[in-house]
Each structure stands twice: as structure tokens, then as C-alpha cells.
Amino acid sequence: MSWINWKNLVKAAVVFIVVWVLVVLFFDPLLRWGLVHAGEAAAGAKVDIGSLHTSFRRGTLTMSDVAVANKHDVMKNLFQLDEAEVSFSPGAALRAKVVIPTAALKGLQLGTPRKTSGALPASKPGKLAQLVEKQLAPAKEKLDFDVSKAKNAAAEVDPKKLESLKGLDDAQQQLSQTGNKLKGQLGVDKIDAQIKDVEAQIKQLQSGGNNAAQIARKAKLAADLQAKIKGLLAQVQQSRQAVDQQLGAVRGQLAKADDLRHKDVNGLLAAAGLPTLDAESLTRHLLGPAAAKKISTAVYWISWIRQRSASQKAKAQQPPPARRRGVDFEFPRAHTYPAFLLEKAEITGKMAALLEGKDMALQGLLTGVTSNPPLYGRPAELTLKGAAAGGGPAMALQGTVDQTKEPGALRLKLHYAGLPLSGLGLGDEQLGASLKGGVGTLDGDIGVVGDQWNGTVRLDASGVTLSPQVKLSGPAAGYASQALSGIRRFGVTIGLSGREDDLHLTMKSDLGQAVASGLSSAFKGAVAQQRAQVEAKVNALYAARRQQLQSQADALQKQLLAPLDRQQAQLNDQLKRAVSQGLGRALPKGFKLPF
């Protein structure tokens, strides 16, 4: 019996042709299905595509009525498009590459309401959203109090139970580990030995004759030396970065301990049966839920973009992906296309009836979106501008993702003037308000370099009228309502810092401060007095140790950077001499170096 089944070979060819015809006939629905599923996997929410048509002959793909839901605000779309016209290279498609020289994204609208929920059945909040929620959304806090029944909070301070002191313990441990680790890792002695070696070689360059053979030997030695010195300089630079990064982490731990001290004080007041009247807690109570949704959306997409545009090296270091998915590596030759490239997409659209019935026209450009930034060599850039005719709302969004070299960097800047605030709800039914009228100016600037996030988002609201919704017992209700009613403008600033897996967020607003002052009057200073006593007691245990750790961290940084600074200066000097001094003397006039 033969191993080859010739009859089946004919059958296989027939099946293959039938499958091919079916794929050609049903390519558009299949691609639409694939894009919807890929989009949903990326967005973590529903994606709708009204229609899709592909033409391989012309190399075009047209989609209409595209809507991507917002995972963190499921009754709204993140964006929707009336039409997307994409040209692609069929030749590149044969190499499993998607190369889009031009695209036109028409009818863009942001944040439009949905008729149905955009939540996916199995969708859960990601780690980042949980981190944001935990830090910005309000803690379960009791706002109704009977101060006359409160205990003495200061008497309850127990050093063993203070989380802030445990935070300092962690910071101390991290500091000592960092010191030991860095001292071993930096290899200062090894580099010093190599600097000595280089010095000896530079002296060799200055000696010897000037015949052709010796000049050639010197030229080669000089080239080798330059390469060696540059390598050493890179090592020193890496060491400096390691020092900054590791000690930055220690400082982050200290900042965390500061937050814990704040929480300790609030916790002690709450345990004693007192309201915390803490401006930050009240800010979180009033603005936290709305802010958490917006910030979760922003950090989710920033993180997504960073992961997708990460370099090959970073991809190799990423944690294992979901089962059956894997990670794609690219192996392009120089001057070839990456697996995915969107060279240029023009964006047009509008935000309808934003303020006083005015539409805001949107216009933008998206360039250089690629799966392999080092190969493409240019950063991805997005600009989106909007302005209403005859003045009014205006926005400018600018985003840059530069992963062309290590460490990758991302920067997102947003300015939005004339943001309508009417109808925005603050807080909950116990202590809240709804905004009537008013406009806001939003300024955001978020940057990520390597693993380190940094940024602020600020909203300045003016011309607002707050309609209070307060259900507190006793005089507190009246004072809180009065405080809220009196507000005509407020500002809120959200700060982001730290690594992605340990993102630190802060939220500050004069709104919380105003309500805290109002409520404080309701309790006639009784809470303020207790707070001052608790803070004094906690600070007595905390402040000196905190200061000591800060000084130790500063001293360690100085100690570690001093030899690196010296080495950097020495190497820069040696590099100069390797190029000019040694060879300048050796070479005859008019002789050009081969490097």
C-alpha cells in the first residue's frame, strides 16, 4: 500500500479551490468579523462596524458606521466614525504585512452616547483600572456623625498599628537592599581599571614614529580606542540611570508612606467616631467617580499603545500572553516595511451641539503608527484640533509615541477650553451636587519614559452653579449645602507618577477644601482640634524617621553618583584626546582619517 493517496490529492485540490472561492466570496464579512473581534480584544468593550468593503484590485478598504465603546463608561462611545477609507498595499499583504500609505477617517465624534451598553459579557476591570479606582474613587466613608459621642482619637494612637510606620520600614528595607545591590552592580573598580588601560593606550598614541606603517597602526589604535571609550561611557550612563531609577523607587516608597500617614490620621478619627473633614477625602467623595472613569480610560489606552509599540527586546521581556495568542516577532531586512504601518491618516469630524448649540469642527493627522518603530525610524504622532465657528469651545490634542530607541517615550498633551459642565453630577445622594451651567478648561500632560509615568491633568471650572443634594443629619446638612451653593468656580488637579504596575495617583481640589471648611463650622472646631492632636502624635513618631530616610537616600545617591561623575569626566577627556591630541601630532598635514 502506497503512502501517497493520489485520488485524495485531486479531492484536496477541489476542496482547496472550493474553500478559496468561499473565502473570496465571504472575505468582507470574515474581515469585518475579525476586525470586530480584534477591536473588542483591544478596547475591552463592544466594537460595531456597519459595513465593510475591500477591493484587492484597487487596494482599498472602506468601513462605515464604526463605533468603539468605552470600557470604563459603557453607555458612551470612546469614538465613532462615519467612514474610514484605507488604502493598503496588496503586495505587502502577501507577506502578512499591513501597510497603509494613506487613510481618511471621516466624521469622527468623541464620547457620543450609546443606546445599548458597550460592556462585553466577560469584561472585568483591568489591574490599571483597579489601581485608579482604589486611589481616586471615594473610600466608604461615614459622613453622618454625633460629635458629642466621639472618643478621644489621640489616645488611640498605637505605633504598632500605624500603616505609615510600616511604610517607612518598607522604604528602609528597600533603601538598604538598593545600596547593596547597586554597589555590586555598578562595577566602579572595573571601569576605573579600564580607564587606566585607556590612558596607557593614549600615551602609546603620542609616542612612536611617523612613517606610513606606524600612522596606519595608530589610526587603527585610535579607532579602537574611541569605540572602547564610547562603550565605557555608555556603561557609565547606564549605571547613572540605574542609580536614578532605583533611588527613584525608594523615594516613591517614601511618598507612599506619606499617603499612609494621611490615611492613618483619617482612620484614627473615623475609629473615634469623628468625621475626617479631610479636604482630599471630600474631593474624592465629590469628584472621584467621574475622575476615575476618565483617568482609567486614558491610562488604559496609554498602556495599550506602549505594549503594542514596544521594541522587540521589550516584547521578549513581557509577561506570557493569553493562551493561544503568543507574541509576534518581526525579522525585517533593512529598508523593508514593518508588519504593520500606517503612514498617514487624515481625520475630520465634529463634536455636535457642545455649548450653546455650537458644533466644534475637528481636524487632525495621525502618522507613523507601526509595529516596529526602530525599523520605521520615526515616532508616531497624533494631532487633533477642534474649534467652533465664531469662537467658543476649542481643543488641541497632541500625542507622540517615540519607541524608535530605548528607553521608549510617550507624551500626550491636551488643552480643551470651553468644556460644557452643565449636568455633571458630583458625589452621591448623601453629599453631592449637580452642576448647572459653567464651563471648564482642561489641561493634561502625561508622559511616560521607559517604565516611569509622570503627568498632571487639571480642570478649571468657572461660572458654575451647584445645586446641592445633601442628606446629613443635624447642622452639618445646612453647612454643607451652604458651602456647595456658594461655589462659583473650582479647580481639580490629578497627578500621576511611578511605574505602571505601581501607579501613584493624587487628586487635589479647592472644592473639597470649601466643603471641609463648611462642615468644620458645623462641628464648631471640635473635629479640627482632635485632628490637630492626632496629627501631632502621629508626626512625632513619623517625621524624624522620614527625614532620616530621605537624608540617607540623598547621601547614597550622592555617594553612588560621585565616582560615576568622575569617570564620565575622565572618559570625555580621554575621548577628546584620543581624537585630537594623539593623532593630531602623528598625522602629516592634509592626511584624512579613515573613520
Binding site: M1, S2, W3, I4, N5, N8, L9, K11, A12, V15, F16, L94, R95, A96, K97, A316, P320, P321, R323, R324, R325, G326, V327, D328, F329, E330, F331, P332, R333, T336
Partner: protein, 173 residues
């Protein structure tokens, strides 16, 4: 309704009792395992599928094995990802991957995906072991259990069906 899994199972039972070449059964098992391990939706899966047609392997056994090894593939995915990543990041293999990546059509196999490559390599490494293990198992089955199992009513029922007679006649041609 004929479920594909049950249909494959019945086909395997009949092949074991209908005089199919044990080598074809074993090859079907090993090839089905390789297909099952590799994630679908790329050209490798299509190539394996075509191999079923081209080679004289038992298609029932191959289909059954593919179903079982798809589940196995899901379980060993982390290991396959690690194998694939190690191969794709190995410096000495880079020229090979670059050459393959530059060819038309070949990248459609998604060989540059860690899970696809890892499972493919595991499938190919397992192929000879699975082939010989299946061959021994089929031969042992024929020697020790075939006669006893043939007396089972369900097998008798299978063999009594008209299409089994046609199948047997087709084998004898």
C-alpha cells in the same frame, strides 16, 4: 445529527476492526496531534490539513487525535510560548528567520509567533514518538484485544451497517 467527534470515534473503531494498515492509523494519530497542537488560523494548519488528504493516513484517527491534541495544545501553551520565544530570540537562528520572513506567503504561516512556532516544534519533535507509540499500541491491540472487542454488541452493530460493508469492500479493492 452526526457529531464530528462521534463520527471520528466510530471511524476509528471501524478502522481498528476493518483491516486498516496499523502504520496508517499510527501516522494519522501523529499527524492529527501535530495539527491539534498548532493554533489554527494560519497556513501551517492548512498545510497539515492538506497532508491528511495527500498521505494515506487514517483520517478518522487523525481527526480524533487533532481534537484531543487541541485541548493538549491549550494546556501546554505556556511551555510552547517559552520554546517559541527562545527560538525566535536565538541569535544564531536570526538569519534563518529573516530569510523566511522576507519571502512571500511564508509569513502567512505565522512562524514568527511564539505559540505557533513553539507548538509546531513540539508537534514535530513528538511526531516520531507518537507514531511509534501508536503503532505499538495498535499492534498490541490487534494481538490481545481485537477478538474480544469484536464480540461486543456495539462493534457488531457498527459492522452490520450497510455503509460498513461498503467501506470494507472499498478497502479490499
Amino acid at each position: 445529527m452526526r457529531l464530528p467527534f462521534l463520527s471520528s470515534l466510530r471511524s476509528v473503531v471501524l478502522a481498528l476492526h476493518g483491516g486498516s494498515d496499523p502504520r496508517h492509523l499510527a501516522a494519522g494519530f501523529a499527524l492529527g496531534a501535530a495539527l491539534g497542537l498548532v493554533p489554527k488560523g494560519n497556513l501551517f494548519a492548512l498545510v497539515f490539513f492538506l497532508l491528511f488528504f495527500v498521505f494515506n493516513v487514517d483520517s478518522g484517527m487523525a481527526a480524533l487525535s487533532a481534537v484531543v491534541f487541541t485541548a493538549v495544545g491549550y494546556l501546554i501553551d505556556p511551555a510552547a510560548h517559552a520554546v517559541g520565544r527562545a527560538l525566535l530570540t536565538a541569535g544564531f537562528l536570526r538569519p534563518l528567520w529573516t530569510a523566511l520572513y522576507d519571502l512571500p506567503v511564508v509569513p502567512l504561516t505565522r512562524f514568527n509567533n511564539t505559540v505557533v512556532l513553539g507548538n509546531l516544534v513540539i508537534g514535530l519533535l513528538l511526531y516520531p514518538f507518537l507514531y511509534y507509540a501508536a503503532l505499538r499500541a495498535v499492534r498490541a491491540y490487534h494481538e490481545r484485544y481485537k477478538e474480544r472487542v469484536e464480540r461486543w454488541k456495539i462493534v457488531q452493530a457498527f459492522k452490520g451497517w450497510g455503509w460498513y460493508q461498503s467501506y470494507h469492500r472499498w478497502l479490499g479493492r
